[in-house]
């Protein structure tokens, strides 16, 4: 099995190191990851500036490629140019911090796995629920077992698994749950500050409004010390609203009377 590993915390982060060590036992691993931290970059790709690729050696324990781009860039260039043949699987992580609920939208870690899914390669994004997590060994084990499971079970092209692992010792984990994306989202606050030159600036902060209570959601599961596994895809069509909008008669949009002169 050939696995491409990526992340958004940067190629030298502890999480990706633990992931590679966990996967080396079962696969030939190629690491292509950002040179620097790329958290919350969403599904950005780099088109305005060129990409540079540097060879990277982590204590002779793994070799890889560091890219001056986003996680999605790394997966694209890894599969298109750096690997001699496409991988059987892409795993992105282990992320330092949760990627549950609305964080799925902002996450660079998830975008790397989503880019793989767009390229028809099965993919997993895996995160530990604490930005200061120290121990990634259990999450690495989950990743290894899920990789083997995916090999047996398959998932449809265009689907990826988003996995969140509570930052706890293995014996305090309550189990592993199949989940849906939760609805919790951020209560953003922009802190207004003044720089040393007297100019104003804003810094984003805030807290997650936890509205999920159903254990079938990722956010409630990790809060109750379960590992969550959520299948996600990139078809964003809201099919229910699509059906409801059939009575909007959009084809007549410009024929409607309006009180505004230029209509």
């Amino acid at each position: 099995m050939k696995i491409l590993v990526c992340n958004d915390d940067g190629i030298d982060a502890p999480g990706i190191y633990a992931l590679v060590l966990a996967l080396k036992e079962i696969a030939e691993v190629t690491v292509v990851a950002p040179i620097t931290e790329q958290s919350a970059v969403g599904h950005g790709i780099t088109m305005q500036i060129p990409l540079r690729v540097l060879k990277f050696n982590k204590n002779n324990e793994f070799f890889g490629y560091a890219v001056n781009g986003t996680p999605a860039d790394c997966v694209k260039i890894g599969i298109r140019n750096l690997m001699s043949e496409p991988p059987d699987l892409v795993i992105s992580g282990i992320n330092h911090g949760s990627n549950t609920a609305i964080n799925i939208i902002y996450s660079g870690t998830v975008s790397a796995a989503r880019e793989a899914a767009i390229m028809d390669v099965p993919a997993i994004a895996i995160s530990v629920t604490n930005h200061s997590a120290k121990n990634f060994q259990y999450a690495g084990k989950i990743a290894r077992h899920l990789a083997l499971k995916l090999f047996k079970k398959n998932i449809p092209p265009g689907t990826l698994l988003n996995v969140n692992v509570p930052d706890l010792p293995e014996n305090e984990i309550n189990g592993i749950r199949l989940t849906k994306q939760g609805k919790s989202k951020w209560d953003d606050i922009y802190e207004q500050r003044t720089d040393p030159y007297g100019r104003e600036y804003y810094w984003l902060t805030g807290s997650l409004l936890e509205v999920d209570t159903d254990l079938d959601t990722d956010q409630a599961s990790v809060r109750k010390n379960y590992v969550s596994v959520t299948p996600i895809h990139f078809d964003l069509t809201d099919y229910e609203t699509y059906e409801n909008m059939k009575n909007w008669e959009l084809e007549n949009l410009l024929n409607e009377k309006s009180k505004y002169p230029s209509d």
Copy 2:
């Protein structure tokens, strides 16, 4: 009606100018947009550096705020800090270039509207299908009529409308269609080049593989000279796969026999 206008081509782009002029007739418009072009930034948000906000005046025809961040940042800080009360509607665009099919994932324009939907504000993303588009007047008219329609019809919280307008004179447009996200995606190519110092770099290019033929998709509709209107949302759960994965028995994942010693 109060409308917040954003884009990803930058606050001084012709598309956003045409949009503001079209909307001023029906609403009080506040513009909060990136200082520089932010195409293909996906749903990135800025957390590692502070945001600066500059007042912007376009020929005394509109006043707004230019932000050194992403489209999603602009919507967040616009609603949280710069507007005295939340807008009734956010419109992002008019984008220079299509945001159909897979481009929805990469688009900064769509991410601004999606951020509004996350904040429970109805939203529209609107694009013209040509990077070199010159005439945005017809797209502006579509935006104005859709804004009025949304006011009457509502859409559920968390849904936004993604609109694509062929770059044609109005009399060559075949009509307006309710659509779904297409499946067309990019055949990426990284051009390998050598810089003036002899170092290699890569530049992303490629072409869209047009696989959509059904006029119910955004991509096929715009190719056949229809305006497409697609309701999208940010619940990424793949519900079909979720149901199918119930037989995976994930709760037993770590109990399965494996030939690998550390399992």
